[in-house]
Structures are given as C-alpha cells and as structure tokens.
C-alpha cells in the first residue's frame, strides 16, 4: 500500500488482486442473496478514492475491513429490509485472508508492543513453542509467560478496535 500511495501501479495492482478474494469471501459470509461481486467492485472503487487515508505505519486489514463494512452498510441501507446479513466482525483465514497481508499486519502490531512481550508472543503463538519451552527460552516462569501472552493479546485486540471502543458501531 505504501508503494501504491507513491504511485507504483504494479504494487497497487498486486494489492487489489490480493484483496479481491478476501472481499468476495467477506461479503459472501455476511450477505445472503446479494450481489457480492458488485459490492467488491464498489469497495475497490472506495479503496481507490480513500487510499490516502491509509496510515502506512498501521496494519492494513483493520483499514480495509472498515472500508468493506461501510460499503456493506451502504448496500443494506439502499436495499432496505430485503437483505439478510450476518453481523460477524471476525476476520481471518475463513475470509480468504492473504498470508502476506496478515503477516505484515502481525509484524506491524507486534512492533507496537514492548520488545519482551512481542518476543514471547512470537515464540509461543507464531513459532508454536509450548509455554514451558517459551519460559525456558526467555528466562521467565511459565505462569509469567501465560500472563504476558494474555495481556499482549488483549493489547493487540484493542489496537485493531476490538472491545475498546466508546463508539462501537457506525453512526448512521
């Protein structure tokens, strides 16, 4: 996205192509009977128009998820009561999340945690070491590792807007 913002058409094309299956899956999971391909196109247009609002130091997925959500709300507003949608905010591999986009976001988010905490989460959650192995590798006790991981994951959730909002949904 950073390259796309500076006018690199090749990178931008790659990004749009990578986002497309995720968007399609996102809408299919939430919208039963609507024209998902139309929504994907409208979202890509919005992404293009609003791309300057992406913060290059922030994770990408919460940004595109918010854009997609707003387009979904627009669609439902226009379609009225004849559309059935799932109010499911979770996103992940089920939505066809591209591994490279996800990996970049995880790196950005972990970079915002204290180095120790980021290392412990990386070892335990990404490198899949057990609590005891993580404790041995970092010199912490197993219970301290559990607490650090739990608190770190809560911080990460808050960073992407889960459970820490004053204004929860869209205004209108």
């Amino acid at each position: 996205m950073r390259a796309a913002l500076s006018g690199d058409a090749g990178s931008y094309r790659k990004l749009l192509a990578a986002v497309r299956p995720w968007l399609l899956s996102y809408y299919r999971r939430r919208l039963h009977g609507g024209d998902c391909e139309d929504l994907v196109q409208m979202t890509l247009l919005s992404l293009h128009e609003k791309r300057h609002t992406f913060d290059v130091s922030a994770p990408f997925m919460p940004w595109i998820a918010a854009v997609a959500r707003n387009k979904l709300i627009d669609y439902v507003r226009k379609a009225g009561r004849h559309v059935h949608i799932e109010l499911d905010e979770a996103m992940g591999v089920d939505d066809g999340l591209q591994p490279d986009l996800a990996a970049r976001d995880v790196k950005v988010l972990l970079g915002r945690l204290p180095a120790d905490q980021a290392r412990i989460i990386t070892l335990h959650k990404l490198n899949e070491l057990s609590v005891e192995e993580t404790a041995a590798a970092t010199g912490k006790s197993p219970s301290a590792v559990k607490v650090i991981v739990h608190r770190g994951l809560k911080k990460l959730q808050a960073m992407v807007g889960i459970k820490a909002k004053v204004a929860g949904g869209s205004d209108d």
Binding site: A4, L5, S6, G7, D8, A9, Y12, R13, L16, A17, R20, E37, V40, Q41, L44, L45, S46, H48, K50, R51, H52, T53, F54, D55, V56, A58, P62, W63, A65, A66, V67, R69, N70, K71, D74, V160, G161, A164, K165, V166, A167, G168, S170, D171, D172
Partner: protein
Amino acid sequence: MTDTLIDALTQNLKPVKPLRAWPLWLGAGVGLILAMIYVVYFYRMRPEFTGAPMTFMSVGKPLLFLVTGTSALWAVSGLARPEGWLEWRHVLPVAAMLVVVVGAFGLDIGRSGVADLRADLDGGVGLCYLTILCGGAAGLIAMWRLWLRRTATSHPVTLGAMAGLAVGSLMAAAYSLHCDMDAPVYLLLVYGLAVAILTAAAAIIGSRLLRW
C-alpha cells in the same frame, strides 16, 4: 468485470498525499491565534491582562476551553480514518471539564441561591453568542475546506460533533481573553450553550457531508 475495474484503477496511477494529522493541528493553532488577535483588537483584553491583579478565572477560563478544544481535536484526528473510533482518552478531558463546571455551578447555587443567578448572567451575552457562533462557524468551514473533506470516517456524526466542539471551544478560549464574566452559570448557559449549538449543528452537517 472486476479485472477491467482493477486495470482502470491502476492505469495512470498518480501518487497521493497521505492524510496526516499535523495540518489539522497547525490549522487549529493558526485559527486560534487569528481569533485571539481579533478578540484583543476589536474587543480589548479583560482588566487582569492589562495590569489589574490576576484572578484564578482569568487564566482558568481560557485554559478550560483550550483543554476541551484540544481534546476534541485529538478525537477528530482519531476518527478521521475508516478504522478510527472514539476512545475514552479522547473524551475524558471534555468530561472532566464538564464535571468541573457543573460542580462549580452546583456549589454556586448552594452558596448564593438561585436568585443571584440572573445577576451573574447580566452582561455581554449577545456578543459572546455572536462571537463564538460566527467564529466557530468560520473555523468549521476552514477545517472542512482544508482537512475534514479528505477524511473517511466510519462515524460521521461523532466526527462532525467533535469538530464542532473543537472549533467552538477554541473560539470560546479566544473570546474569554476579553470576557470577565466568570460565574459558573455564565460558563454553562452562555459559553456552554453556544459551544453546544455549534456541536449539534456540526454533528448534523457531518452526518450528511462526511458520509461514504
């Protein structure tokens, strides 16, 4: 069809300027200085700033509105992107200021009674409303032209309201360099209502102009 769209979007792609918060803060700072110059030049400063003994409210009142305006601006910058939301730390200073003023109002009523409130409201009400509403509206238009229209919020009403609260509070801070009416009832019913009117108007405008 989507492939054609992607082709069209990537053809002749031009660099774009990312949305940054500093022009908002710079614009607000310049706007505040201009408002202060206007107030001092046309209305003159209150006596404490021209040699009379200083009182707590001569500094406390501008500071109260400055804190409110700054924290509302902080909320505006947090709400400007699609994934942004209103955080407690953004609204806490505004809530704290409101509690202070309402608390002082309650104490004032307890001490002097309701009968004295009318006397506390006597002086400069029209000018205060006019200055805060007109200056705030001008600030809001400038903020829209220079920054707000580039935002893409998921909360247009809240963003509009916070923008109105910010410009209204900053204008009130500038006007309080002149105004020596410091009674809590005056702060609530004159300053507070003027800022509230701007906040409500900006929320309504925001719901239309800041929509996707």
